[in-house]
């Protein structure tokens, strides 16, 4: 997901585009050097002006030339650049997850500081636009957030190396990154992250709720017997208990894979080890528990209520056989999970 070895291998297959990009870069080189030669204050005003031109302009979508101009020294402003790979070819899930948060952060910061007192420029550089920048940093993964502190002026930082924010903990919320940025920018305004009101969500919640209310009102005469039905409640309770005792919450919390390969091209249904499990494994176990429970219930309640001796005997034999075999199976499955376990029942010895 995050590792992009494909990113670099793609470089090879895209040599033609690289050539084209190279040509483009050389064509732009003139304007880029011009931009770079501008005094830092003007550069800041130029890009800050662009960012505040409309309320959704930040973060600036940078080309490599813009990037080089922005981070050129000396600079009396700070730059926060997200190096990302949004193209679907790279399959960078994390980039896509973080992008809206990043835009939210940049927008609320830039719009909260329209006068540019904090002197921060937010930009996004995509891998497609700035391959050489990625190469220059030797980046293997994306996204990476770089923060370039000012090199001159009252807030100048020595050494002027950019600070790097790694997304080791997954895609972070805008507030977390805001906190990190604010730490790098002491004594300057930190416009807070303003989450826009999610109208769509409110409306859809309202519609669903009112629809549900109407539906339940209309269907009340039919719903009521179901709600009052003890068998339904018993079934719901038992299913919930079986889910919880078969390790469903572990799957939710740890996000375990559903199944995994066994390394020889086959499928391994049961995870090796006592502390791990797969999604399918818990379903199998839940089904086994379910069958055992069902046979227990049948033997305890149903079988003694069968009036006909013959069918009672048949039902008894069937359910007892199921109980016997499945319990033995359960123990044998547990033996594979816990190798030191020495107990077994026939037939799965």
């Amino acid at each position: 997901m995050r590792l992009l070895p494909t990113l670099l291998s793609l470089l090879g297959c895209l040599s033609t585009t690289t050539l084209a990009a190279g040509a483009g870069a050389s064509g732009n080189s003139k304007s880029s050097t011009n931009l770079r030669k501008l005094p830092p204050t003007e550069r800041f005003n130029l890009y800050h002006g662009k960012a505040t031109a409309s309320s959704s302009a930040a973060p600036l979508k940078l080309l490599e030339t813009d990037y080089r101009a922005l981070v050129a020294t000396p600079r009396d402003y700070s730059v926060a650049v997200l190096l990302t790979a949004m193209d679907s070819r790279y399959g960078c899930q994390l980039c896509r997850e973080f992008q809206p948060e990043w835009e939210l952060l940049a927008r609320s910061w830039t719009n909260g500081d329209r006068k540019g007192e904090g002197r921060v420029v937010f930009g996004t550089l995509d891998f497609n636009d700035g391959r050489d920048v990625f190469m220059g940093f030797g980046l293997q993964t994306a996204p990476v957030l770089f923060f370039f502190p000012p090199t001159i002026g009252p807030h100048a930082v020595v050494p002027p190396e950019p600070l790097r924010y790694d997304f080791t903990g997954g895609a972070q919320a805008a507030e977390v990154v805001h906190h990190w940025l604010a730490r790098q920018l002491p004594d300057r305004p930190h416009p807070p992250v303003k989450r826009p009101i999610n109208w769509m969500r409110w409306i859809s919640t309202f519609v669903i709720l009112s629809g549900g209310a109407t539906a339940s009102y209309v269907a009340w005469p039919w719903v009521l017997p179901v709600v009052r039905n003890r068998t339904v409640w018993a079934a719901v309770t038992l299913i919930a208990i079986l889910l919880f005792t078969s390790g469903h919450m572990f799957n939710r919390i740890r996000q375990v894979p559903y199944v995994a390969g066994d390394g020889r091209g086959g499928i391994s249904y049961f995870a090796k080890g006592f502390q791990t499990q797969y999604g399918l494994e818990t379903q199998i176990v839940a089904a086994i528990y379910g069958v055992l429970t069902l046979s227990g219930i049948t033997l305890a309640i149903k079988v003694p209520r069968i009036a006909d001796p013959k069918s009672q005997t048949v039902a008894f034999l069937a359910w007892w056989g199921i109980l016997f075999v499945v319990y033995s199976l359960l123990i044998s499955i547990f033996r594979t999970k816990s190798p030191g376990y020495g107990f077994a029942l026939p037939p799965f010895m």
């Binding site: 590792l3 790694d166 080791t168 990190w180 730490r183 009052r228 003890r230 068998t231 409640w233 018993a234 309770t237 038992l238 919930a240 208990i241 079986l242 919880f244 005792t245 078969s246 390790g247 919450m249 572990f250 939710r252 919390i253 740890r254 006592f274 502390q275 499990q277 494994e281 818990t282 176990v285 528990y289 429970t293 227990g296 219930i297 033997l299 305890a300 309640i301 149903k302 079988v303 003694p304 209520r305 069968i306 009036a307 006909d308 001796p309 009672q312 005997t313 008894f316 034999l317 007892w320 109980l323 016997f324 319990y327 359960l330 547990f334 816990s338 030191g340 020495g342 107990f343 029942l345």
Partner: protein
């Protein structure tokens, strides 16, 4: 019925009521004995010793209580932990456990039985497990008319590994008595609810107060009883019995719980106590409405009801909003919150996520701890749906929530086990009652009026019980069921004994291993090291170690520590984490500031011991990073390829960290050059080991599990430690040497 029938003679032997009572008492006593004795493995194998980590603190506190009396204990300020902060111990612990042991100790003394307080502490948990079995018997008897169910429940409770895991001899922890109190409080609650009795309600509150004094898990009762009441109300089963039982319990129980300094005003402030308060208010409203309905005509009552409900709801909501925004009601506490939003702890509270007991439960753990009970449990719950009286609703609600919480947190298997035992016992006894009888139905046609004890299936009952009970015709079928379940029960007993013996009876202070010839070899490094500290260091020498070992150092070595298992101050723990994760130069000032004399690390590389500090190291880094994100970075401990390595490929930050250096210092000298191997992580270490300059090795235990380093004092000559060490090693500082002239012999 002929008197000569031998079966009848045998069956009638236990028929008399008094005979049965005597038998029941004997059986219960035997079960309690079995429960106690199955927990004694560790005492027999090792010795009468306190286990693990937390029990060492409880033991130390108990000793203090016994030595200084109750009031001193209540005001105890402990300056030997959390140096230099100290800890107001009397106000920050649950005193129930220590007071219980203290009372037993003084009672035995009064009876002129000379007994060591340590032995009371070691044997407290097994003793209380016997009581738990009896409490389970009482609780189950409230659920079902079958007398055998209670005995089965007591048996299951006595030997189920899910409970044994926290109650073996030496496991002197709060849970040791808390589970008994939990089950017994539930029993009293059911009794109070069934009879609508204020006396039982008050007793329930009393034991609830005892529970609050003993274990933080009391919140489980605080939430379960209101929930049960709420479900009953929703089912339209409001009654004066419920009103009396609940209000008595809530009023007295809350007052009782507020007497514990550690709990204080939490019951009226925090959100986890709010359901109980809310249901209390709700019951008052219902009682009021009930009264009004009996007093005024029904049409006016309708109007009144609507107005009243609307006003009450509005006022309640407004009050809640105001109280929350004014900060009277605290938000959910972190530990509790992590039960609902399961991702919360991982992101926000690394210290909670780092504890292995707080991890979710995989399915093998359920089977391991409950074996066949795990599938008998739903059967029992289903059987309770047949009748579904008020008390059965309790078991159903408890079963649902207990299994949810047990799934989220391994440790809460403990609260699930009682309900599993009760429900499974009901299922098992139902099966046995059906099949373990010599009576067979005579003929298929004359049965409609024959079922004497057949349950009358009402309209609201289960679909599966709509037909009358006939009984089992074939006696071979009965014997098949009885014998197969006898085998299952035997297997269960074997399983429980095996699990107890193999998994739960290790004191973890003393490790047992097997030599190649099969004989047992005891690894006693911990005690060796703590004994060394006790004998070779000043009495007020401060020991820095990761918090896991704080209680043990305090209990066994009797030396002040910086942090311990009472993780109340995250910053202080992070300070220790930072000292461990930083380079020597950076951590030396931290250690000087905290007056650290010795640093203790646990190293499992030689023995392949997995619970060592290098394996826990990332948590130290994470916790430190939470406070000082600029100075400690988790990323820097991973190689560029994202691996956590300790060999030659380890990152520079890793190799320079104090923890790494202390763990591997001199380790390569045990091996031929270039062959040093870390057996835990299975990697080859670099030929040149780390060098220490600010610390010196003071002690290393026999198997290198514990290593203790002395923090050097400031250099006598005012040099920094690195150059002093370099000087001692004979590395000359390059300094321009002044040429002296030839020596001149002075002649006078």
């Amino acid at each position: 019925m002929s008197a000569a029938d031998p079966l009848q003679v045998i069956a009638s032997a236990g028929k008399g009521e008094s005979t049965r009572s005597v038998l029941r008492v004997i059986i219960l006593a035997l079960i309690a004995g079995a429960a106690v004795s199955s927990r004694l493995f560790s005492v027999i194998r090792f010795e009468s010793i306190i286990h693990e980590f937390d029990p060492w603190f409880n033991f130390r506190a108990t000793k203090y209580l016994v030595a200084n009396g109750f009031y001193n204990f209540w005001d105890w300020f402990d300056d030997r932990t959390w140096h230099p902060l100290g800890r107001v111990t009397g106000g920050t612990l649950y005193p129930g456990l220590m007071v219980t042991s203290g009372v037993i100790y003084h009672a035995l003394r009064a009876l002129t039985i000379p007994v060591d307080i340590r032995n009371i502490c070691v044997l407290l948990a097994p003793g209380f497990s016997g009581l738990t079995a009896i409490a389970a018997y009482l609780l189950t008897n409230e659920m079902t008319p079958s007398p055998s169910a209670g005995l089965l429940a007591a048996l299951f409770m006595g030997i189920a590994p899910g409970y044994i895991s926290r109650s073996v001899a030496g496991s002197y922890d709060n849970e040791a008595i808390a589970i008994f109190l939990l089950v017994f409080t539930f029993y009293l609650w059911i009794k109070a609810l069934k009879q609508g009795s204020m006396l039982w309600g008050a007793l329930c509150a009393l034991f609830y107060g005892y529970m609050v004094a003993s274990w933080g898990g009391y919140a489980f009762i605080t939430c379960l009883l209101p929930l049960h009441s709420f479900v009953l109300i929703c089912m339209g089963r409001y009654s004066t019995r419920l009103y009396v039982a609940y209000t008595t319990w809530y009023a007295l129980g809350t007052l009782a719980s507020m007497q514990i300094p550690f709990v204080g005003f939490l019951p009226v402030k925090t959100s986890e106590h709010m359901p109980a308060l809310g249901i209390f208010g709700f019951l008052q409203l219902l009682a009021f409405l009930d009264y009004v309905r009996s007093a005024i005509p029904s049409r006016q009552f309708q109007t009144f009801l609507w107005l009243f409900a609307g006003t009450a709801f509005g006022v309640g909501l407004l009050g809640l909003v105001i109280a929350t925004s004014m900060g009277f009601i605290a938000p959910w506490s972190g530990r509790f919150y992590s039960l609902w939003d399961t991702g919360y702890a991982k992101i926000h509270i690394p210290i909670i996520a780092s504890v292995s007991e707080h991890q979710p439960t995989a399915w093998p753990a359920f089977f391991f701890d409950l074996q066949m009970l795990i599938w008998l449990f739903p059967v029992g719950v289903y059987l309770l749906f047949q009748e579904l009286a008020d008390e059965h609703v309790f078991i159903v609600v408890y079963a649902l929530f207990g299994s949810y919480f047990a799934g989220v947190m391994v440790r809460l298997m403990l609260t699930l086990t009682p309900v599993v035992c009760v429900a499974a016992a009901i299922a098992m006894s139902n099966l046995l009652d059906t099949y373990l009888t010599t009576k067979s139905p005579a003929a298929p046609d004359a049965l409609s009026d024959k079922d004497a004890d057949g349950k009358k299936a009402g309209k609201a009952g289960l679909k599966s019980t709509s037909k009358p009970v006939v009984g089992i015709y074939a006696s071979w079928a009965k014997s098949v069921i009885v014998s197969s379940f006898a085998v299952y029960l035997l297997l269960f007993v074997l399983h429980c004994t095996w699990v107890t013996s193999n998994a739960y009876s290790s004191p973890s202070v003393v490790l047992a291993s097997r030599l190649p010839d099969g004989s047992q070899h005891i690894i006693d490094d911990y005690r060796e090291a703590y004994q060394w500290l006790r004998q070779n260091t000043r009495e007020d020498a401060k020991i820095m170690s990761w918090w896991d070992y704080g209680y043990q150092i305090g209990g066994m070595a009797d030396r002040p520590t910086l942090v311990d298992n009472n993780t109340w101050n995250n910053t202080h723990i992070a300070t220790v984490g930072k000292a461990m994760a930083s380079s020597e130069e950076a951590s030396y000032p931290i250690m000087r500031q905290h007056e650290v004399d010795y640093v203790l690390v646990v190293f499992g590389g030689l023995l392949g011991y997995s619970g060592d500090d290098i394996n826990k190291f990332l948590w130290m880094v994470r916790i430190a990073e939470g406070i000082w994100p600029d100075e400690v970075k988790e990323r820097a401990f991973f190689t560029p390829r994202g691996e956590y390595r300790v060999d030659g490929e380890a990152t520079e930050t890793m190799k320079n960290s104090l923890m790494y250096k202390m763990s591997y210092y001199n380790y390569q000298n045990l091996f031929p050059p270039g062959q040093a191997v870390d057996r835990m992580r299975g990697v080859r270490l670099p030929e040149v080991g780390p060098q220490l300059s600010h610390l010196e090795e003071a002690f290393t235990s026999e198997n290198w599990i514990i290593r203790i380093y002395k923090v050097k004092d400031l250099d006598n000559l005012g040099r920094d430690h690195a150059s002093a060490v370099a000087f001692d090693r004979g590395i000359k500082k390059k300094k321009p040497v002044k040429k002296k002239g030839p020596r001149v012999l002075r002649v006078e």
